[in-house]
């Protein structure tokens, strides 16, 4: 366009005068073809930019000039500052993580037969709405490990590594020899060798009893040792049975920790067997028995994904789920353009796969990686739906982002002045990209 030797097929006579009107079109015809687009663009895109710019300098009801007050609010209002801070976190992490994953996936799937199927799976979320993705991840991040799959997996992993037999809500029943002490329980009387001790408790829900628990058995006295039983002195549907003595229908507290305490010091400790029986050595003679508090902790309940501190990373996770496929597809297309000989030459020279990746593939892909990252940054700047849907009301302030704050200020808090200032601020942030696009186009035209 700028020069008459722009595009067109070289070698054909037509290429010398490309994109001229095929035969002198009248200007009125050109205007008719352009009119609908230019009118709509003018009214719906250009006019709003001007309006927002002007509006951002006026106060809430638009009656008075406010100078830069609305812009000051962006950096002083606590709510907007949180949004600004979160936007920075978003712009730094979401595009880079998505691009890095996209790069890894693109490189790894290259030589795998089912690579196309894999790419389809990862790319698919691009087709669905952020609303649907938001609902999907509300389900994933459900706090209850019995419902939310994220916590189900997390708790599963946690419990595999930190196995604990816990008896939440256990407490002494009627006429119990135990009394509460520091979250645990202590016998009221001292114990002695050759005698048996009964440590009955009640109140552990049946589904929280250890899987291996067996019928409680009364311990046999053993001279020189202290023996005893700790068990759930209650059977659902049958009541307490004999109070203070184990019945066959009652379960032993498998794995309950028992400490013998003398003068405030632990002199011996053990764990109960599946039938609730335990044995302590003679050193415990004269001590009192304690069931320490660690026995009665609530079971590990997973992570509060959508709580104030984790809500932003959690939502960024859902964004990566949606957009890593975008990065992967673009990078894979770039990868297909990397000359095979170059990679082969490096391998022949003895480079490891990692070196080939670091020293050849990544530098060659740098332009693609830059375009993908910048595209995602623009996209992330405007993120709204995911935050609006996934963050529950209680932590929406902590998850706030500029686009959401703009919506709130403009449409529920009656602050169109501040909302316009946020809009102009967002626009300023994309101007470098706007400039880059225009420059790239002009360069291409001049080529």
């Amino acid at each position: 366009m700028a020069s008459p030797t722009a595009a067109g097929v070289p070698g054909t006579p037509a290429a010398s005068a490309p994109r001229k009107s095929v035969t002198g079109t009248r200007r009125t015809v050109a205007a008719l073809f352009l009119l609908p687009a230019l009118v709509l663009l003018g009214a719906l895109v250009v006019y709003p930019i001007g309006y927002s710019l002007v509006r951002s300098f006026y106060n809430a009801d638009g009656s008075g000039f406010a100078g830069f007050d609305n812009y000051k609010a962006i950096f002083t209002d606590d709510g907007i500052r949180t949004a600004l801070k979160n936007n920075v976190i978003w712009v730094v992490f979401a595009p880079t993580v998505s691009t890095a994953l996209g790069l890894i996936f693109a490189v790894l799937t290259e030589r795998i037969r089912w690579g196309t199927a894999f790419k389809l799976v990862v790319f698919m979320p691009m087709a669905i709405s952020m609303l649907a993705a938001g609902i999907i991840f509300r389900l994933v991040y459900d706090q209850d490990p019995d419902k939310g799959v994220a916590n189900a997996v997390w708790v599963g992993v946690h419990d595999t590594f930190a196995r604990s037999s816990a008896f939440p809500n256990a407490h002494p029943g009627r006429e119990s020899p135990l009394k509460p002490e520091q979250g645990g329980f202590l016998t009221t009387a001292a114990v002695h060798t050759g005698r048996t001790v009964a440590l009955p408790l009640v109140g552990v829900a049946p589904d929280q009893m250890p899987d291996g628990a067996k019928s409680a058995v009364a311990a046999k006295p053993d001279p020189g040792k202290i023996t005893g039983t700790t068990w759930q002195d209650f059977t659902r549907g049958k009541g307490v049975g004999r109070l203070g003595a184990p019945d066959p229908s009652e379960l032993g507290y498998d794995g309950m920790r028992i400490e013998a305490v003398k003068d405030g010091k632990v002199v011996a400790s053990t764990k109960a067997a599946a039938d609730g029986t335990f044995t302590l050595p003679a050193t415990a003679d004269g001590a009192r028995l304690r069931l320490p508090a660690s026995n009665f902790k609530q079971p590990y309940n997973g992570v509060d994904w959508l709580g104030p501190s984790l809500v932003t990373p959690a939502i960024i996770g859902s964004y990566v789920w949606m957009w890593a496929g975008f990065a992967m597809v673009l990078i894979a297309a770039g990868l297909a353009g990397v000359p095979r000989e170059l990679l082969e030459a490096a391998r022949v020279d003895g480079a490891t796969e990692w070196q080939v990746f670091r020293k050849v593939t990544v530098p060659l892909l740098a332009p693609v990686l830059a375009v993908v990252t910048v595209t995602l940054m623009i996209n992330v700047l405007k993120v709204f739906d995911l935050v609006y849907i996934i963050a529950p009301g209680s932590s929406q302030d902590d998850a706030n982002v500029l686009a959401l704050e703009l919506y709130r200020k403009g449409f529920s808090e009656g602050q169109p002045g501040i909302a316009s200032a946020i809009a102009v601020f967002l626009l300023l942030l994309v101007i470098p990209v706007m400039w880059f696009n225009v420059r790239r186009l002009r360069r291409e035209e001049r080529r």
Binding site: G24, L34, L44, P48, I135, A403
Partner: protein, 279 residues
Amino acid sequence: MSWLLEKVNGGLVRVFLIVVALFWLVPTIGLLASSLRSPEDMSANGWWHVFSKPSQLTFDSYRKLLENGDITHSLWNTVLITVPATILVVVIGALAGYAFAWMEFPGRDWWFLIVVSLLVVPVQVALIPIAELFGKVGLFGTILGVILFHVGFGLPFAVFLLRNFFAEIPRELLEAARLDGAGELRLFTRVVMPLGGPAIASLGIFQFLWVWNDMLVALVFTKSGTQPITVALQTQVRQFGNNVDVLAPGAFISMVIPLAVFFAFQRQFVTGVMAGAVK
């Protein structure tokens, strides 16, 4: 030795990719499974229990949802918004794209640069001004208003993509048609549009998915009778937990059409996405 190492590495890569694929699939499977369980089962335990108890599977939630007039109406609104918005963007964008590619008029380059610079303008900039404008001219809350907004913000990309594609059409073709006596409009409908098929398909699919999946624009510009499915479901999210039986099947129904379009036109979609990078 190195052969063995390679074998192990290849195996590790495969395992890694399978784990990743599961990470990507499980959330969607979770939504589908949740939508096929009764609310009672859902409040009792997680959706994965459906695999050990297939008897829990039920279409009740879907049936109830489709009997819910508000939801079906909003689904219809989505169609009413998406189809015209897509067609209008393609037609208006193609007219302008053709003019930019093959017509001569003063300031052509500058006009086109302006259109390209509008590619990255965030929709947020226009929400408040257009809400006010639509309020004045009586378009606020109407389906036409939402359509116009989507057309406006779809146009920069449409013009950019189609102009670049049309510019590649061999000049001889156009000249031959012109010699046969075709007028500018005939040239456009009989030569340019058919030749632009691939680009038009990419643009159409891209715009279709964009508008179908939009929530923000509709949230601002519709009211209760005109809201599309995304906004209708969004109002339900406020009480999340008690109404998974509406949200899960609703979200899944809203996904069916985009997913079908995606699987049917993958290649065109990818082309559109690639052309749209830096949008």
